[in-house]
């Protein structure tokens, strides 16, 4: 029984150590600015198409569903309110994070995993450079900077999708849709909507790198690391989401 628990406990411990060292490196020289820029480009700019597409369609679908439900109460006019609250508080952050995890946690795990099994990580260490400083910290910083931006884009595109549905399916005036959308948001929602992606970003980058760096067993191991990274990152995103939401709900209801 104890033996069964040993491996997972050890893994969690290793993960904390990686997290600690990656965070400490933020305040330590050398800073690999070129690597941060490169990662911001792959993670941020590279994710824009998928964020645009998923954002637009999720917003549209939500407007469709909401509009239909609100019809029963004769409240179709409030579609914008619901679309905007749900997008900004929940769907935007979570959907964007899950998409970016699918793209980048897996990318990081397979890139670092391949480097691990071909001894390139060892070569980095032998050449006197810290792979955490060179590989993990730039990815962590880049994701933390880019994910909130991507989430804002996703939110906005989602509202656009909702607007199309509101106007063309439920025949709402544009002005009404946008003013309800805008008025629905309070600072609390915005804070929640930006804090979430910031926190999720660490799950995405650190879990991707963690599984990459502990890859064992050749090409197959790389595949396994990639899958595990995405699955674990996704689950952690949802769990963390619940906790953050709970904190905000308690804070506002009291």
């Amino acid at each position: 029984m104890l033996d069964l628990l040993k491996a997972p406990i050890q893994a969690v411990q290793d993960f904390y150590e990686l997290t600690g060292r990656a965070m400490r490196n933020v305040f330590r020289k050398p800073h690999y600015l070129d690597d941060i820029k490169l990662q911001m480009d792959t993670i941020g700019v590279g994710s824009i198409p998928i964020v645009l597409l998923t954002g637009f369609f999720s917003g549209a679908v939500m407007a469709l569903q909401m509009g239909r439900s609100l019809q029963d109460y004769g409240q179709t006019g409030r579609t914008g309110t619901f679309v905007s609250i749900i997008l900004v508080r929940e769907l935007g952050p979570v959907l964007t994070a899950v998409m970016v995890a699918g793209r980048n946690s897996s990318g990081m795990a397979s890139e670092l995993g391949s480097m691990k099994v071909t001894e390139q990580i060892d070569a980095m260490r032998a050449l006197g450079t810290d792979p955490l400083q060179k590989l993990v910290t730039p990815r962590m910083i880049a994701t933390a900077l880019m994910l909130p931006c991507l989430t804002v884009i996703d939110d906005f595109v989602g509202m656009l999708g909702g607007w199309l549905i509101a106007v063309y399916v439920y025949a709402l005036p544009s002005l009404q849709y946008w003013s309800t959308t805008w008025r629905a948001l309070v600072w609390n929602d915005v804070a929640q909507g930006l804090l979430k992606p910031f926190v999720f970003s660490f799950a995405i980058s650190l879990i991707g790198c963690f599984y990459g760096l502990r890859t064992k067993g050749g090409t197959q191991g790389v595949g396994r690391a990639t899958t595990q990274a995405v699955v674990v990152a996704d689950v952690v995103i949802f769990v963390v989401d619940l906790f953050i939401t709970k904190i905000f709900v308690s804070a506002t209801s009291s």
Binding site: R21, K29, P30, Y32, M115, T118, E119, Q120, D122, A123, R125, A126, L127, G128, T129, D130, K134
Partner: protein
């Protein structure tokens, strides 16, 4: 050339003291109570069959593998129990050639060779000096024309030469070569050994050369690089400062000069030592 890197003559560059290495799920030790001392100016030839622990020894020497017991003193500091973050600055005094070259496969040859100059905390060069240094290192291994290629576009022997260039670009006082000639044809193998001898004679570096071919060791022990002709000449009477070691199943079973090695009775050693005169003629 490497004056600022040279370490005073009385300190050893690499010393193993009763080093034992064991992997988690093995019953036997990969390295067993190993002790030796690499003095400045020396070239050590480490012979051993496949699986005898040669690679493990080199990785332990630079802290990539942690020993179960004993001390590993690298450039005067015990690294066996030092946190890795502190080891990075020590490792930049050491150049290592990996058995499989371990080049960064998504970087060009020039970027690979520039990597230590760009990324080490201390060796960082201003960009203006970077390119000449990279070119010089690649000229040293006669691959100046490959600057913009990717490692996958080179042959195995060329990759190994690039890896040597990457190891020597910072002019470290100590070099570790893991099986530099393994899997290569005799001509390329000779080219690589000639590079190792050239590096020794031009930059006065200390080296530990792992190999399973005795003729490699013979070449290092009896030839010198002639800067005028660019070829290897017999070292003559003064000889070279070469020490041989033989590793067998993680244990050091021989340490001494070439003459002592050739005189050894042990059948395992005798199997390594054969036909030195044939290679000399090549």
């Amino acid at each position: 050339m490497s004056a600022e890197n040279s370490v005073s003559a009385d300190t050893s560059l690499l010393r193993f003291e009763n080093v034992t290495v064991r992997f988690d799920d093995d019953e036997t030790n990969a390295l067993d109570d190993l002790s030796f001392d690499v003095r400045p100016g020396e070239t050590r030839i480490l012979l051993g069959a496949a699986g005898s622990g040669k690679t493990v020894l080199l990785k332990t020497a630079i802290g990539l593998i942690r020993p179960l017991g004993g001390q590993v003193r690298l450039i005067g500091q015990d690294i066996a129990r030092m946190p890795e973050e502190k080891q990075f600055d020590i490792r930049r005094h050491v150049g290592m050639l990996f058995q499989e070259s371990a080049l960064f496969d998504s970087m060009t040859i020039a970027q690979n060779v520039a990597y230590p100059l760009l990324n080490q905390r201390v060796n960082r060069l201003p960009r203006a000096q970077m390119e000449p240094a990279v070119r010089e290192a690649l000229r040293f291994v006669e691959l100046e024309h490959t600057l913009e290629k990717l490692p996958s576009e080179l042959s195995g022997g060329m990759r190994r030469r690039v890896a040597i260039a990457r190891a020597v670009v910072t002019k470290p006082p100590l070099l570790l070569y893991d099986s530099p000639t393994a899997g290569l044809d005799p001509i390329t193998a000779h080219t690589i050994m000639a590079l190792i001898i050239k590096e020794r004679d031009v930059d006065n570096t200390t080296a530990l050369v792992v190999t399973h071919r005795y003729q490699d060791g013979n070449l290092v022990a009896n030839f010198r690089y002639n800067p005028d002709s660019g070829r290897l000449d017999p070292a003559g009477k003064q000889g070279t400062n070469t020490v041989f070691m033989v590793l067998r199943e993680g244990r050091l079973i021989f340490e001494g000069s070439q003459a002592e090695l050739e005189a050894a009775r042990d059948p395992y050693i005798a199997k390594f030592v054969k036909r030195p005169e044939e290679e000399a003629a090549a």
